[in-house]
């Protein structure tokens, strides 16, 4: 059972990926084709947080956008390093409601890698995403939030 406690770590990762448990978002590798229903609209809202005195101003460029499921969209976040030092951080995404997480897929995202912010630099970071048409019809709003953590060196 001691080993089981450790086995829960990869099991949990796989479980979250398959089910979208805990707001884990999915990935796609190419801009694949979906059947698109132009009438259906979903509002995606963007949120930003920083953790533990992260010295970079960080926020979405637009607060929300209307999207059609099955189409790919690009959204961006603005980050400004207010310090005179290079800061390295990692963004952790989360999607709510959790039932939507499974069908929120990202093609590319600044959260896939750690980001370095040069002194007093302002950067625009992008993500490209799609909401799959398989999303539950009852869901009309999706919130995507990023939490930036500071990494040492």
């Amino acid at each position: 059972m001691f080993a089981f406690a450790y086995a829960m770590v990869p099991i949990y990762d796989v479980f979250c990926e398959i089910t979208g448990f805990n707001g884990t978002t999915g990935r796609v590798d190419t801009e694949q084709q979906y059947t698109v229903d132009e009438q259906r609209k979903i509002e995606v809202s963007f949120f930003a947080m920083t953790m533990g005195g992260f010295p970079v101003q960080f926020g979405p460029k637009v607060r929300s956008m209307m999207v059609v499921p099955g189409k790919f969209y690009t959204a961006s976040y603005i980050a400004k390093n207010n310090t005179g030092k290079t800061v390295i951080g990692q963004a952790i995404p989360s999607v709510a409601p959790t039932d939507a997480a499974l069908h929120f897929k990202k093609l590319e995202c600044f959260c896939f890698n750690r980001q370095a912010f040069k002194p007093h630099e302002e950067v625009e970071m992008t993500l490209r995403f799609v909401v799959e048409p398989e999303l539950d019809k009852r869901i009309k709003d999706i919130s995507l939030s990023y939490n930036f953590f500071k990494l040492d060196s």
Partner: protein, 536 residues
């Protein structure tokens, strides 16, 4: 086999050693049982003292007595000491004392390991308590030690806490192995599994829960340790870990843990109620199956502690329904106890009073648990005083009640003397009234939205908190009387007979009035086992 002599004597050849070394070196299950019980009692008083500090601070709104940081240390240590220092060792102590006598064995199967598993405990408890005197103070993140509070933001003493939890885990696992080995290998050859008394059955099942759950806890604290000191990131989102994973691992241990603390209590109550109702236990085999069913279900409901972590609706529904399912076998037990009492020739000696109030008050705790298990309602109840009221009803008026009931019930067998019945009744009524004054108003506080683990509260909560604190001080004081009654019984109690309760069944009552130091050197006969069986 039955001897009604009033003089107790030790075995001629293997009496206990003289002096202090008897207790250090002992391998005797009765000695070790007593050590466990006394250790648990001292820890109960220590944890109780912390609770008095908490209630004193909450007597009035505002901060009067202590810094919030120290208040948090008190709530954390109160929980840890009561769970790992008082309730669990007390049940292991009862198991040590009673199981060999109940299955007709001369001793535990692994007596040297038994000695070791006890003597780890004072050191583990000492390490845990010593954190109060360290820089940064004791752990202050609640007994559930959620990451990242317990990893990134915890005081240095947390590493000592982790080591103490490891030691406590070792001790519990060894105790569980010992009990399984005793029950399966040392049982009288003529005793079938379905002849076993329910206390033995519940402890056998509890042992499997311990062996399943404690290593998971050890895994969780080991991950904490490496996260804190060796640069791993199990619970750290920046390194690809997840703090919510901690809650999954913790509650995968934590939920079986709460049944570890209540199943032996069910066993105790299943002995006391038939005795004083003078009727055989109603539904013996359904009791056994219900215990096993509860143990199984306890492993698949853990996330009902985590409804607010953001789970998909399907998961919330599953954990809600699985949780509700536990009320079925638990209900079987409660109805069996009531059916046992139905039309019985009941008398109300102290153990029976404790047992009946257990059934009543534990059921209240069970019902508030059902309310908490409703996922949409839990959004309101989560982390409020309603939760505090709930688990104190199941752990204080459940687990602790059964331990006190067991102490009064078997004290004559342990000491050969009878306690003062009048004083014991006074103590019972004192405790049962004050404990309700203490915990019942906390339901209302929680429903009104008072959060737990906060040293201050807004003014509308003042009246109920005042009532609760007064009840708390009265309940705390009742333990002074309990201490007196037990010591008075050991020193001055009237000598008793081998079977002081006329309705009592069980092999332990066939021993001498004060159970001899070595009992059942020859296994009991089939006839005797049948005569003393609960399953008849």
């Amino acid at each position: 086999m039955t001897t009604a002599t009033t003089t107790s004597h030790d075995d001629h050849h293997h009496g206990p050693e003289k002096g202090l070394m008897r207790w250090v070196k002992t391998t005797n299950h009765k000695d070790i049982g007593s050590l466990y019980m006394w250790f648990a009692f001292i820890m109960l008083l220590v944890g109780g003292a912390f609770a008095m500090g908490i209630r004193a601070e909450l007597l009035q709104p505002g901060l009067q007595l202590m810094e919030p940081q120290f208040f948090n240390q008190l709530t954390t240590m109160h929980g840890l000491i009561m769970v790992f220092g008082a309730i669990m060792p007390a049940f292991v102590g009862l198991g040590n004392w009673l199981i060999p006598m109940m299955v007709g064995a001369p001793d535990m199967a692994l007596p040297r390991m038994n000695n070791w598993s006890f003597w780890i405990l004072p050191f583990a408890g000492g390490i845990l308590l010593s954190t109060f005197f360290m820089e940064g103070g004791a752990p202050a993140f609640g007994w559930t030690f959620y990451a990242p509070l317990s990893t990134t933001f915890a005081p240095d003493s947390t590493d000592f806490f982790i080591f103490a939890v490891h030691l406590l885990g070792f001790s519990s696992i060894m105790g569980a192995i010992n009990i399984i080995a005793t029950v399966l290998n040392m049982r009288a050859p003529e005793m079938k599994l379905m002849d076993m008394p329910l206390f033995v059955w519940t402890w056998l099942i509890t042992s499997f829960l311990l062996i399943g759950a404690m290593p998971v806890l050890a895994g969780a604290v080991t991950m904490m340790l490496t996260d804190r000191n060796f640069g791993t990131a199990f619970f750290d989102a920046t390194g690809g870990g997840d703090p919510v994973l901690f809650q999954h691992i913790f509650w995968f241990f934590g939920h079986p843990e709460v049944y570890i603390m209540i199943l032996p209590a069910f066993g105790v109550i299943s002995h006391i109620i038939p005795t004083f109702a003078r009727k055989p236990l109603f539904g013996y085999s359904s009791m056994v199956y219900a215990t096993a069913a509860i143990a199984f279900l306890s492993y698949i409901v853990w996330a009902h502690h985590m409804f607010l972590t953001g789970m998909p609706v399907a998961a919330e529904l599953y954990f809600m329904y699985a949780t509700m399912l536990i009320s079925v076998p638990t209900g079987v037990k409660v109805f069996n106890w009531i059916s046992t009492m139905w039309r019985g020739s009941m008398t109300f000696e102290a153990p029976m009073l404790w047992a009946i109030s257990f059934v009543f008050l534990f059921t209240i705790g069970g019902f508030s648990g059902l309310m908490l298990g409703i996922a949409p309602a839990d959004i309101q109840y989560h982390d409020t005083y309603f939760v505090v009221a709930h688990f104190h009803y199941v752990l204080v008026t459940g687990a602790l009640w059964s331990i006190i009931a067991a102490t009064f019930y078997w004290l004559p067998k342990w000491t050969g003397r009878m306690y003062n019945e009048g004083l014991a009744k006074v103590h019972f009524w004192w405790a049962v009234v004050s404990v309700n004054v203490l915990f019942f108003p906390q339901h209302f506080l929680g429903l009104a939205g008072m959060p737990r683990r906060i040293p201050d509260y807004s003014l509308q909560f003042a009246d109920f908190n005042l009532i609760s604190s007064i009840g708390g001080f009265a309940f705390g004081a009742s333990f002074i009387l309990l201490t007196y009654i037990v010591i008075d019984c050991i020193r001055n109690g009237k000598p008793t007979t081998a079977r002081p309760w006329e309705g009592a069944k069980g092999l332990e009552w066939t021993l001498e009035p004060k159970a001899q130091y070595h009992s059942f050197n020859t296994p009991p006969s089939r006839k005797l086992i049948e005569a003393e069986s609960q399953n008849s």
